[in-house]
Subunit: 194 residues, 2 copies
DNA sequence: GATTACCTTACGACCGTTCGGAAGGTGGTT
DNA sequence: AACCACCTTCCGAACGGTCGTAAGGTAATC
């Protein structure tokens, strides 16, 4: 279906070039139609853009929900580390995530409101999912580390590693994620000594 | 001097709207000249852009160098926490940093090379400055945490908080920075118990 | 007959860029 | 002091190009 193809192609173009950088002509050609035919499916470029964004938001939320659901039986350390790995890996192979991040970071001014609302929805979801996870395993946490603290510190570390992903130097990412994870885990776990 | 005003205004516009989003007409008008007059001072929009970027890179490096120099006498914990605070604070009042980050994250495709080189220069500088700092105070670190580990984990946390800054919700940043810092410090420091 | 998907043609607005020339300042020559 | 040549800074006019968008037509489908 052309409608979906358009959103899919727009996703890639917007992720790569941003809102202003992407051109409807290119998007249409990539799909195999003329630029003007886009207007059969979307009111405007802005319409196409926010439609794509709303889809992307749902997709991101689904990913996280699915992940937590799939790994409930694992140990805390295992879930966290797997999420870290899989999430970072996802970035490189998933345009949806790239688009969502770029849009969340630097939305076109005329859509700041809508986009902030969407990305906040995502972040809130992330925070509550992870806080719940830590609450379930609070016996593994240091006494002075609350579930919320562990969750927010984890997500902050994750964001920091995403930045490294954007920079795009694999070796540095590798080093940073290994070392950050080590320090983080030492910072929240109950026992001292390996 | 018009030349400097142009770079200054371009910095703000590029930081706010990105390369493609910013318009030479607007930049010129803001300075009080006509668009065509820009070409007296710069060969092209691209020229103006990368000139601005090179300046911004130097400015960022200077800031970090200056900071480390100014705080050498302080304790490790003090220096780190102050840097955290001051760096985050800087973002909100300093367009140079906003521009540098946006450009580093999402450079226009035709300048990816130049910009990656510049931002790597900055990151390398950051890493070596902080690694050196931790080496000087390695007696405060856990035995299984090297200076490099402490440095990279710190910088990753910093990047993560910058992401929160970009999102732009002050309360969430406040919470995250407090909790991340707590976990980080527990993760690297030698003694256990407050 | 109504609707849907796509096309062709064309529009106005703005983009970055070029060129030629006006205005003003500087320094050297007479 | 007066002139001239030169340079810098700026602007008016205009260029080609791309942008997003509009209207209207043509097949195919239901």
């Amino acid at each position: 279906m052309t409608y979906d193809q358009l959103k899919q192609t727009a996703l890639i173009q917007f992720a790569q070039l941003g809102y202003e950088g992407a051109s409807l002509t290119v998007i249409a050609n990539e799909v195999g139609i003329k630029k003007q035919s886009i207007y059969t499916h979307f009111k405007s470029k802005d319409d196409l853009y926010i439609q794509t964004f709303l889809d992307a938001t749902d997709c991101e939320i689904d990913f996280v929900k699915q992940f937590v659901q799939d790994h409930q039986s694992k140990t805390l350390k295992d879930v966290l580390f797997r999420f870290l790995t899989e999430y970072l890996n996802r970035f490189e192979h998933n345009d949806n995530m790239k688009f969502f991040m770029r849009t969340s970071f630097y939305p076109p001014v005329q859509h700041e409101e809508v986009i902030k609302t969407g990305s906040n929805k995502f972040v809130d979801r992330l925070e509550s999912l992870f806080t719940a996870l830590f609450e379930q395993n609070s016996d593994e946490l240091r006494n002075d580390v609350t579930a919320e603290t562990a969750a927010l510190a984890f997500l902050t570390m994750l964001d920091g590693l995403l930045v490294e992903l954007i920079y795009g130097i694999p070796e540095r990412l590798q080093k940073r994620s290994k070392q950050s994870w080590f320090v983080y885990w030492q910072g929240i776990r109950k026992e001292s000594g390996e």
